[in-house]
C-alpha cells in the first residue's frame, strides 16, 4: 500500500513561558490577533463561586448580532464604512458556512475584508486574489483580501467600484453573518441591521462546580514541570467532564492526571460562548491577574480561548483552513507571581501562531 496508515495530518503547538512583568511578553498582541473567538473557558481551583469582579466581566461580554441572508456588498455600504469600519473595530464572520466547502467571509477589526471563495465564485467576482494554501491537486479555492481603510477602497474609488459591482451584480454572495463592534456595540451597526432580518445575542455563560478534583501540582515558572500535551489533555478532560480517576490497568480508560498531582476539594469551571471580542478576553485576563494577587490556596488559573473553526483567518489574519478539524485555540495558565504559560495550537496547514 502506498500510504502509511500510521501518519496523521500535521498539528502545531507553540508553548510560550514568560511573565506579565517581562517587557518582551507579547500576550496582549497574541490575544488580540485571534479575532474571532467562539468560546472562553476558565478553571478556578479552590473556588466555589466566582468573585464579583470576575462575574462582572463574564456578564459584560459584548453582545453580537446575527444577520440572516445578508448580501456581502452591504459591508461596503458608505454609511456602514463611515459609522462602523472607520470608527473603532468591526468583527464580522460568516455563519453556517464551512471553510472547506463554502464561500466564507470575515471582516477584521483592522478593516481588512477577507473572502475565501471557490473557483467559480472567484472568477465571477473578478477581483484580484491569490490561490489558497489549502489547494491540493487543482486550484479550486482562492482568497481575496482587501483593506477597506485603504485610499483605493474609499467609496467612489476604482478598487471600491470594482469590488462593489462584483459583489452586487456578478457574484451576489449572500450569507448569514455574525457581527460585533468595539466600542460602539449595536449603535454603530444599527443602520445596517435595520435593513435585514437580524437578532441580538448575548454570550451564553455557564458555570459549574467540581469537587475533589485531582490536578497537577503546578509550580509557577519551573519550565520542565509538566509536558504541555499532558497538561492540555488534563485541562481538556476537566472541561469535558472526563474523569481522570483511572489506573493504568483499567479496561475502559487509562487516562490519569499528570504527576506530580494534588487534589483540590473544589473548583469552578466557567465558560462563555458566542462571538467574543479579544478586548473582552483581555479585560478578563486583567481581572484574573487581580484575582491572583490575593493570597489563595491554589495559585493559578487556567483560561482557554477557542477560535471559530470556519473562520477564513486565524492569528494575524493568516489564512485558516480545515482538513479534518479546524482547531485554533490557546490556553493560558496564569500564576500568582505574574508568570504565565501560553499554549497556542493549530491544525493541518495553518501557519505557525505568533
Amino acid at each position: 500500500m502506498s500510504v502509511d496508515l500510521d501518519q496523521t495530518p500535521r498539528s502545531l503547538l507553540v508553548c510560550d513561558r514568560s511573565s506579565f512583568l517581562n517587557e518582551k511578553n507579547r500576550i496582549s498582541s497574541q490575544v488580540e490577533q485571534l479575532h474571532f473567538n467562539y468560546k472562553v473557558s476558565l478553571l478556578l481551583p479552590e473556588c466555589s463561586s466566582a468573585p464579583s469582579h470576575l462575574d462582572a466581566v463574564f456578564n459584560s461580554f459584548n453582545s453580537f448580532y446575527l444577520i440572516r441572508n445578508m448580501p456581502i456588498y452591504e459591508l461596503l455600504d458608505k454609511h456602514f464604512l463611515k459609522t462602523a469600519v472607520y470608527q473603532g473595530s468591526v468583527y464580522g464572520v460568516s455563519y453556517r458556512t464551512r471553510i472547506d466547502e463554502d464561500n466564507c467571509v470575515a471582516l477584521m477589526p483592522n478593516g481588512h475584508l477577507s473572502l475565501s471563495l471557490d473557483k467559480d465564485s472567484f472568477e465571477l467576482l473578478g477581483v484580484e486574489g491569490k490561490p489558497s494554501r489549502f489547494n491540493h491537486r487543482t486550484t479550486c479555492r482562492y482568497v481575496v483580501c482587501v483593506d477597506l481603510t485603504d485610499s483605493s477602497m474609499a467609496p467612489g474609488g476604482r478598487g471600491y467600484q470594482r469590488l462593489l459591482t462584483g459583489l452586487r451584480s456578478r457574484l451576489q454572495l449572500k450569507t448569514d453573518f455574525l457581527l460585533s463592534h468595539h466600542p460602539g456595540g449595536g449603535a454603530s451597526l444599527q443602520d445596517l441591521l435595520s435593513r435585514y432580518d437580524w437578532s441580538e445575542h448575548r454570550p451564553d455563560v455557564s458555570s459549574h462546580t467540581l469537587t475533589d478534583l485531582s490536578c497537577p501540582a503546578l509550580q509557577s515558572c519551573d519550565l520542565q514541570s509538566c509536558d504541555p500535551h499532558s497538561l492540555l489533555e488534563w485541562i481538556g478532560a476537566v472541561d469535558a467532564h472526563i474523569s481522570c480517576e483511572n489506573s493504568s490497568s483499567s479496561f475502559l480508560s487509562s487516562l490519569v492526571c499528570p504527576e506530580p498531582k494534588t487534589t483540590v476539594s473544589r473548583a469552578l469551571s466557567v465558560s462563555v460562548c458566542g462571538l467574543l471580542l479579544p478586548q473582552d478576553v483581555h479585560r478578563l485576563i486583567q481581572q484574573i491577574r487581580y484575582y491572583l494577587e490575593q493570597p489563595r490556596l491554589e495559585s493559578w488559573v487556567s483560561l482557554t480561548v477557542h477560535g471559530f473553526v470556519d473562520s477564513p483567518v486565524s492569528w494575524r489574519g493568516n489564512e485558516h483552513g480545515v482538513l479534518r478539524g479546524g482547531e485554533n485555540f490557546y490556553s493560558l495558565l496564569i500564576f500568582h507571581d505574574q508568570t504565565y504559560q501560553l499554549h497556542l495550537a493549530t491544525g493541518a496547514h495553518d501557519t505557525c501562531p505568533p
Binding site: T8, H229, G236, L252, E327, S331, G347
Partner: protein, 129 residues
C-alpha cells in the same frame, strides 16, 4: 517530538514549537442503532469497538490500545483516545462496523482532533435560532 525552534531569553522568556508531537488523538463518536431502544454499557461499547478492530486488522488490530474516556448511555455518545499512530486504524474500523448483534448500526464520528480541548470548543455546534 522535535522542538523546532528554541529561544532562550535571559531569565524568563521561552518559546518552544512542537510539530506533530501530539501523542494521542481524540474522537467524539456517536453510535446509531436500528433499534433505538437497545441499551449498551460502556464495557459493551468498548468490546464492540475491539471486535471491529479485530475483524478489519486481525489480532494485531485488536491489540491496539484506546481509551473510552467518557460515555453517555442515553445518547450513545463517547469520547475516545487513541495513540496517534493508531488513529487511522481505529477510525476506519469504526467506519466499517455495520452491525451490532444482528442489527444494523453506524458510528457517526462527530469530531477528531489531536487536542482534547478542541472537542469542547467546536464552533460548528453554535446554535443561534
Amino acid at each position: 517530538m522535535s522542538p523546532a525552534d528554541k529561544k532562550d531569553k535571559p531569565a524568563d522568556y521561552q518559546r518552544v514549537v512542537l510539530k506533530n508531537a501530539s501523542p494521542y488523538h481524540y474522537m467524539k463518536v456517536c453510535l446509531v442503532l436500528e433499534d433505538e431502544s437497545t441499551r449498551l454499557s460502556a464495557v459493551d461499547l468498548k468490546q464492540f469497538i475491539i471486535s471491529g478492530l479485530k475483524s478489519l486488522y486481525g489480532e494485531v488490530g485488536a491489540a491496539l490500545t484506546f481509551d473510552l474516556l467518557k460515555y453517555d448511555e442515553d445518547t450513545l455518545t463517547a469520547f475516545l483516545r487513541v495513540n496517534s499512530r493508531g488513529l487511522v486504524k481505529l477510525w476506519s474500523s469504526l467506519t466499517l462496523l455495520g452491525s451490532y448483534q444482528n442489527q444494523a448500526c453506524a458510528f457517526r464520528v462527530l469530531q477528531v482532533s489531536p487536542f482534547l480541548l478542541a472537542l469542547t470548543g467546536n464552533s460548528r455546534e453554535l446554535q443561534l435560532d
